[in-house]
């Protein structure tokens, strides 16, 4: 259908009807200084197309980003390689333009993709069942807390400061609207103090949420937590921010997690200034009816042919209204497609290679540190904290690194305002090359030896 704008006669008729002399009279509530009059923007003359492309290309070239620098930032979002096939698949009109597939009659392709996504996520996390995704890791953590409250009919949530502060912020925001408290057990160093977490569990505790590897990249034995949860009936909830590591190290399911949640951004989704990303959520089969969101199931039609449908959506808002299991009304269908495409391209061996390279890069970086800079103690995956003598030393290094196109790390106080401003959260992936790491270490040594 063509767009038919109002004619001048239409406008005049409408103005006359409401008793206005000029359209400007409709905007008198807005101060005159904010009115745009013809010519008031003082715009340059129009450019031809080639000129526009040149102008904006030059402006874009001034941007420093992960693609044209050496990039060592993490903290929940990671610079992994995204194969071109992922973009090709998700750009196909069948996926790109699809909305929530309520109707199996017309959405078999989308439903099958979601089904396979769930299968791959469940296998990667070592869990029995995964849903068709959450919006992001932070809301997935909050939903896991609510889910545990429904399952256990208890109200208290125990977590710890080695869980990404943004996940905790969102979870706290959800829980402050409900009864029951949220205990955030402090960690003294840059690792999870599991004994302190276990000590905080009581008979009212619905769940314990820890991150693995934790926010500082630390890996640790979760078996004592499983035992403590068994002893009190609390659910064990494992959060994660980069699931590529589970291509190599034990996933949450192997530790006996009841619920596993985290970000799927690392699996074929660009960082993209923080979104769109995706939240993953998986659990034990016995808890599936308290799971938020939706699940796609495999079934047979009346002719006995294989087909896919939304199952468990009976508990969602479009049917159960205010009694719905959760507030999530949709999912990240396109990002699911990106995850499924990435995981099917990489396979077990490919993902293990990504994890091995990511971990090896950090080991190489840490082993070359000058004595003025300390890496956090204990086993790490591909993220750690570097500590400097003071803020001045750290900032001198960051400045030098920036001049050499190195994003050296995230000042930890950006996430944790109480921290002494002398630490950097540093992450590696499979992306930095050996030369990038030696450049990083050279800049570090130079900055340390200036004083």
């Amino acid at each position: 259908m063509r767009f038919l704008p109002h004619t001048e006669n239409d406008r005049e008729a409408m103005l006359e009807r409401i008793g206005a002399g000029h359209i400007r009279e409709l905007f008198t509530d807005i101060p005159a200084a904010f009115h745009l009059e013809p010519g008031s923007l003082n715009l340059p003359d129009a450019l031809h197309e080639a000129g526009i492309v040149r102008k904006f290309s030059r402006a874009a070239e001034m941007n420093r980003h992960a693609g044209n620098t050496r990039y060592f930032l993490g903290g929940g979002t990671y610079h992994h390689f995204v194969p071109a096939v992922v973009d090709y698949v998700i750009s196909r009109g069948e996926f790109l333009t699809a909305y929530t597939p309520y109707q199996p009659e017309i959405a078999q392709g989308t439903l099958q993709t979601l089904f396979e996504f769930q299968t791959m996520v469940a296998r990667l996390l070592g869990m029995e069942v995964a849903n068709a995704s959450m919006y992001d890791a932070a809301t997935a953590v909050a939903e896991a807390a609510l889910m545990a409250r429904r399952i256990t009919r208890r109200s208290r949530v125990v977590t710890t400061t080695s869980v990404n502060s943004r996940y905790r912020d969102v979870t706290r925001n959800y829980l402050t609207r409900l009864d029951g408290d949220m205990a955030e057990v402090p960690c003294s160093g840059f690792a999870t103090d599991l004994d302190a977490v276990i000590n905080a569990i009581d008979k009212d505790t619905a769940c314990v949420i820890v991150q693995y590897p934790d926010f500082y990249g630390s890996v640790y034995d979760l078996a004592p937590l499983r035992a403590a949860c068994d002893a009190t009936g609390a659910l064990m909830v494992i959060a994660f921010s980069d699931p590529t590591c589970f291509g190599l190290i034990s996933p949450p399911g192997e530790f006996g997690a009841d619920i596993a949640i985290g970000s799927g951004q690392s699996l074929g989704i660009p960082m993209g200034f923080g979104g769109p990303h995706i939240g993953l959520l998986a659990c034990r089969q016995k808890h599936v009816r308290q799971m938020p969101g939706r699940i796609c199931g495999l079934t047979e039609d009346r002719d006995g042919k294989r087909g896919f449908v939304l199952t468990l959506s009976t508990r969602e808002q479009h049917i159960r209204r205010e009694k719905a299991t959760s507030n999530i009304c949709s999912n990240q269908g396109l990002m699911c497609t990106a995850n499924a495409t990435y995981l099917s391209l990489m396979g077990d061996a490919g993902l293990a290679t990504v994890a091995r390279h990511s971990i090896a890069a950090l080991a190489r970086l840490v082993s070359g540190l000058p004595h003025e800079v300390q890496a956090a103690m204990g086993p790490r995956c591909h993220e750690t904290v570097l500590s400097f003598a003071d803020e001045k030393n750290r900032n001198r290094f960051m400045q030098l690194a920036r001049e050499r196109d190195i994003f050296a790390g995230i000042p930890l106080e950006n996430f944790e305002p109480d921290r002494d401003p002398k630490h950097l959260l540093v992450a590696t992936t499979e992306m930095p090359e050996e030369e990038d790491i030696s450049d990083y270490l050279d800049a570090l040594k130079e900055a340390c030896h200036v004083s």
Binding site: T314, R320, K323
Partner: protein, 124 residues
């Protein structure tokens, strides 16, 4: 459709069998038929106190998830654990093997209909 004469019913289509101060609760033949194939029954916790009209269980069919409201108040003393593995018993035998919970009644009850009144209510 059957409506046994020895039971009482609610307008939300639950039934209750009163034997002394013990009440057995379930959903009516009409309710199971309207819901369709039942795939899951969420049972209440033993020991929980329920008030008349309170949602104490959830019945999930392929079409919908519905709350089951208490015809009488009291303490849950027993639940039908067999429904966890065989929820379809609510379809096949709603007044027998498909019972949901037993309550030690407090004496309080919701508006209860006898067989004749419930039959009339369904016809309306």
């Amino acid at each position: 459709m059957t409506i046994p004469a020895d039971l009482k019913y609610t307008k939300e289509h639950e039934w209750v069998r009163l034997e002394g101060d013990i009440a057995t609760l379930g959903i009516s033949d009409h309710a199971q038929e309207a819901l369709g194939d039942i795939v899951f029954v969420e049972l209440p916790e033993i020991g929980r106190e329920i008030a008349p009209g309170e949602a104490f269980a959830v019945v999930e069919s392929v079409k919908a998830v519905s709350d089951v409201y208490a015809p009488v108040g009291g303490e849950i003393i027993e639940v039908n654990g067999e429904l966890e593995a065989e929820p379809e018993k609510v379809n096949t035998d709603p007044y027998g093997a498909g019972w949901i919970a037993k309550v030690k009644t407090s004496g309080a009850s919701a508006e209860l209909l006898d067989e004749a009144a419930y039959t009339l209510y369904l016809e309306e």
